[in-house]
């Protein structure tokens, strides 16, 4: 028997997706980006509406120059882990800069956002502790819960009352309770009711970790995320996030006011047993952070663009997530239809993400788009037009909206 035979079902699903000459949606090649909003795909200029590059900073001139300068002075890699030879002055500097941005006392930087969740969640919640995870948590949160030894309890998505009920069942049990939520949920773009979760956390004497991966640089007056927007940063014990979205580079972080954070450096395996970020990435990240702080208008334009795309897709008769945010997903019913829709969008020059169950909530396939501050209104209108064209081809207009 082949070692791969357990994936026969997966092979069949993939074959079904690519039947009739469809592309493999998980193997798209962007030959190269021409700007933050346009990429060359299959030799054609294609509008990018699925890159998480919310502020367009992957193409920041300042970040590019900083990366080049750092590579010249420091070389291109550290060849070691943070607890051995992989901590350079630049790593300390970046940690200080991120801590200062969040007005927190401590920061730990990881090599990816995925590892930041893995490293924090597995190390914070030990054998006698409880982890309480939102049902729609990102894979990195679930994986972190499996790497550690805590008991893991799942509560209904964005439902503080359901969490309260589950915490009540744990009353009287020893062990710390760590609640994990996200700022903006990556699949549907819905925002966490952070103030309500903060209230539940206070009542129960629990700890709260917020993954602001999609909301850092996006929400809050200074871009510190949903906790800032909701005025409850003091209740969020640990903020985790990534540099790979609004800052346009790669890497992850955790900030906190708890002095214990420094101990996590010595017991978090995803922090200890992997090479640290290379100098050019750190330099680019710091330059992008500067730009994010200096240009709050990027956030305002981003939200204007998000509302424009959300309204446009709804007006075109498509079903979307519950609120306008930089992640706007079109919800479809059948996988087969979603695959064909996604292929047509790419034929007509728009790249979005195809997300399939079980990675999506409620078993629905999604055409997931992410908006950028650097999209022009004309680019957004063009993308909406193309969505509407394909929806008409597929006869997908919802009657109520179609006649409105």
């Amino acid at each position: 028997m082949s070692i791969f035979s357990k994936y026969d079902g997966l092979a069949q699903s993939l074959a079904a997706v690519t039947a009739d000459g469809g592309r493999n949606p998980f193997a798209v090649v962007i030959d190269r980006p021409l700007s933050s909003t346009v990429g060359l795909i299959e030799g054609r200029e294609t509008l990018l509406f699925g890159t998480n590059n919310y502020l367009g900073l992957s193409q920041s001139e300042a970040a590019i120059e900083a990366a080049i300068a750092a590579a010249r002075t420091h070389g291109v890699g550290t060849t070691g882990s943070r607890i051995a030879n992989g901590t350079q002055g630049l790593h300390r500097q970046l940690e200080e800069r991120i801590a200062a941005y969040f007005q927190r006392r401590h920061c730990m930087v990881f090599s990816t956002g995925y590892q930041a969740n893995l490293g924090m969640i597995s190390a914070l919640a030990g054998k006698d502790d409880y982890l309480l995870l939102d049902a729609d948590s990102h894979a990195s949160i679930y994986d972190g819960s499996r790497l550690g030894h805590a008991q893991v309890i799942r509560f209904r998505h964005n439902d503080p009352e359901d969490l309260r009920k589950r915490l009540r069942r744990l009353e009287g049990t020893p062990g710390a309770k760590l609640i994990v939520v996200e700022g903006i949920y990556s699949m549907m773009g819905d925002v966490v009711p952070m103030a309500e979760f903060a209230a539940v956390k206070r009542e129960a004497g629990a700890w709260l970790l917020a993954d602001e991966a999609h909301s850092f640089g996006v929400m809050g007056a200074h871009g510190r995320g949903v906790a800032e927007a909701d005025g409850v940063e003091g209740d969020v014990d640990f903020v985790v996030g990534t540099f790979s979205k609004s800052l346009g580079t790669v890497g992850g972080y955790c900030v906190s006011d708890h002095d214990g954070l420094d101990l996590i450096r010595l017991c978090s395996r995803p922090y200890m047993f992997t090479a640290s970020l290379p100098p050019e990435i750190i330099a680019a990240t710091m330059a992008a952070l500067d730009e994010m702080g200096r240009r709050p208008e990027l956030r305002h334009t981003l939200m204007d663009n998000a509302r424009r795309l959300y309204a446009g897709l709804n007006a075109a008769g498509l079903r979307t997530g519950p609120q306008a945010s930089p992640v706007v997903s079109v919800i479809l019913d059948e996988v087969d239809q979603a695959v064909r829709f996604w292929n047509r969008l790419l034929d007509l020059g728009v790249y979005v993400n195809l997300s399939l169950p079980p990675a999506t909530p409620d078993q629905h396939p999604l055409l997931r788009t992410s908006v950028m501050a650097t999209h022009t209104p004309a680019q957004i209108d063009r993308a909406v037009d193309i969505f509407a064209t394909v929806a008409r081809e597929f006869d997908l207009m919802r009657p109520a909206a179609a006649t409105a």
Partner: protein, 83 residues
């Protein structure tokens, strides 16, 4: 409030049968993944429904050892006795 494994198992079967996609001939010894064709997410979502009916939380790490409906029922009964 002292449900037996048989009581809990019957309640789980009843909850499952409310879903039209579930085969009609299931019983306590049916395997949750194989016989019901549930993926990991579907299992977690259906356990959440049972948790609500029985006012108990089943830690996800316990699910790894559960194969059949009776296994799940036994796990829930032991969790309720412990609390």
């Amino acid at each position: 409030m002292s449900e037996t494994v048989a009581d809990v198992s019957a309640l789980i079967v009843q909850t499952l049968l409310a879903n039209p996609k579930v085969p009609r001939d299931i019983n306590g010894s049916s395997k949750i993944v194989e016989d019901l064709a549930f993926d990991s997410l579907a299992v977690m979502n259906f356990v959440m429904e049972i948790e609500d009916s029985l006012d108990v939380s089943v830690p996800l790490d316990r699910l790894a050892d559960i194969r059949t409906i009776d296994d799940l029922a036994a796990c829930i009964v032991s969790l309720k006795q412990a609390s």
